[in-house]
């Protein structure tokens, strides 16, 4: 690999900020409740598919919001 191609590789993270694996006890407390099954399923998808999935969820959320609004207006 040439020096030029090395330069073109993205740098993973900034040396001027705390490292991405910085230990924070509050974050650690959140970690145990992260649903890794959702993440594993997402990582099987392409980026476009991930956004399509997000769009469908967003539309679903909008429908729920509208249904709630109709319920409140009818009450």
């Amino acid at each position: 690999m040439s020096a030029d191609s090395d330069l073109q590789k993205p740098l993973p993270y900034s040396p001027n900020l705390p490292p991405p694996d910085f230990f924070d006890p509050v974050v650690e407390a959140y970690k145990k409740d992260v649903d890794m099954t959702l993440i594993r399923e997402n990582l099987k998808l392409t980026v476009t598919e991930r956004f399509e999935k997000h769009r469908k969820l967003w539309e679903f959320a909008q429908e729920l919001r509208k249904a709630g609004q109709r319920l409140r207006e009818g009450a």
Binding site: D35, I39, T46, V47, F51, H54
Partner: protein, 151 residues
Amino acid sequence: MIGDGAAIVHGAARMTYDVNVVYARNAENLARIVAALKPYKPYLRGVPPGLPFIWDERTLQGGLNFTLTTTIGDVDLLADVPGGGLYEQIVPFTVELEAFGVRCLVVTLDMLIQLKRAAGRPKDLEIIAELQNILENRFVKQPNLLDSQEA
């Protein structure tokens, strides 16, 4: 792209209602941004309708970070990101991806975690935990960023 959109790229199970874009402030790029968003009627988000707001290069030149609403969704245009700095300073920490047939730059998972932490918002603690879990589990060794790659 940074923010929760970038988190989705890296596999996070997250809902977001806006797209966070870091932009270069050279004249040519400002003109491109104005032209790209103009058809979607950009307007300042959260301000009363009817206030004078002209979407042009001069407006972009006169500000830095813009939180916009458009007919296709909310967009945050960021010139200076806490912890990350300007576009030129963030670009080295990005990877190129393709989505919807368009190629764009998205911050690396590592840098995204750093930016989320630098933002210092309590609401980000949960997503930092999620992103660190992705990082620690090394699911990202071979990120599936291009549509042309097999899922």
